[in-house]
Subunit: 213 residues, 2 copies
DNA sequence: CTAAAAATACCAACAACTTTGTATTGTGCA
DNA sequence: TGCACAATACAAAGTTGTTGGTATTTTTAG
């Protein structure tokens, strides 16, 4: 009987639900990785582990309630076989040592490249621990905002317009700038608002500031 | 000859110019404290010290360019007599030890109470070093956003409205909620925009998110 | 008490974006 | 070839906030 190529099962833990979704989408394209479940906080993941035992956990450090390190400690205490890769938003290098000390198998910044994330996941999945840490690359496809935005499936033009909106352009200005009718811009904007599920320009501004900046 | 009560001369270093202004205002009300100068970054303060020698420096940790700890090191190397109190935005307790190790005389979170800041400044000014650190209190008058907002001299009502605007209330909703005519709300809003020097609701949203949240 | 500031109220013209439609043209994929 | 989707364009009616006024009452500080 042939051994089926087992997928690497993963649970993602992050309080930014929308970030999880993006990351999930990204991982779904990988044939050897399976996102088993997701959790929004420490409590949730610890509960999940009673029934779901993944090969790996992607664990955000900055979470409300129980923080990532405490979760790490508990996971490693009760399920030492589960590999844990810590995710951190900022370049807080000082936390790497803490992660290492807590038994994490890897550590990656959220602005790392998609390819880097995947290679780290695979290395760790094969049993290698990914220390010491290697500098992450900025402006990559794994940039948090990109991953995050993907889930909304904006078209090229819509994404482009979003960049202008971000810079405070009015519809008229965008129309001038892109040689479009203001009506076209309005249509695109309408679709953006719909896809992002926003009700007014203020919400859009908040959205942009919170996720896209 | 009677010894005149010498004022404690202070230089504030922080890259948020507007925060400096607020803090400056706050300290100006204290008869025994004199804000001698301000600096926006490490380079600036190090330049200033050639000509201005304060009794104390309030030094932000998170700054672009040279960070607070490097500044601390240099200040303590060349001007060991100057007392340094580190300011940090977040509850990053792990940085306290680093500050202590670097020779800082005090460490305070930006969300500490005004009274706490003052007492720490006075203690340190008298030669006591303020370690170990004592937990800061939230929702105080020294909350960064409060200090920051002060400089704009919004009235009570205006400040109140700003809270609703922050929560995405429309003018009409605010009017209903506060039993005011919508015209009144519009007037207040107009004045807020003027005082904050903002041009449109998007800028207001950005302002709120960046400073007031 | 009195002057200044704050709070209230009103108005009209305007600017910007929303909503709900319709409709045409191009383009990639099966 | 033909379907789905993207991109384009238009329009009317509505909502929300802006601007630049004026004006009255209430509160506060000297």
């Amino acid at each position: 009987m042939e051994m089926a190529t087992e997928k690497l099962s993963v649970i993602i833990v992050d309080d930014h639900t929308l970030f999880i979704n993006g990351l999930c989408m990204l991982l779904q394209n990988e044939p050897d990785i399976e996102v088993m479940n997701m959790a929004a906080n420490g409590k949730e993941i610890l509960g999940l582990l009673h029934t779901n035992t993944p090969d790996m956990i992607l664990l955000d450090i900055n979470m409300p309630g129980i923080n990532g390190f405490d979760v790490l400690k508990k996971v490693k205490a009760y399920y030492p076989k589960i590999k844990v890769i810590m995710l951190s938003t900022y370049n807080e290098e000082h936390l790497i040592e803490k992660a290492k000390a807590g038994g994490a198998n890897g550590y990656i910044f959220k602005n790392a490249e998609k390819s880097e994330l995947l290679s780290v996941m695979r290395l760790v999945g094969q049993g290698q621990s990914w220390f010491p840490y290697k500098q992450a690359v900025v402006n990559s496809t794994f940039d948090e905002s990109d991953v995050f935005l993907k889930q909304f499936q904006l078209t090229k033009r819509e994404t482009e317009l979003l960049q202008f909106i971000k810079q405070n352009f009015t519809n008229q200005q965008m129309a001038n700038h892109l040689n479009l009718s203001i009506y076209t811009v309005e249509t695109h904007r309408k679709n953006i608002m719909q896809k992002l599920n926003l009700k007014n320009p203020v919400e859009l501004t908040k959205f942009i500031l919170q996720y896209n900046l």
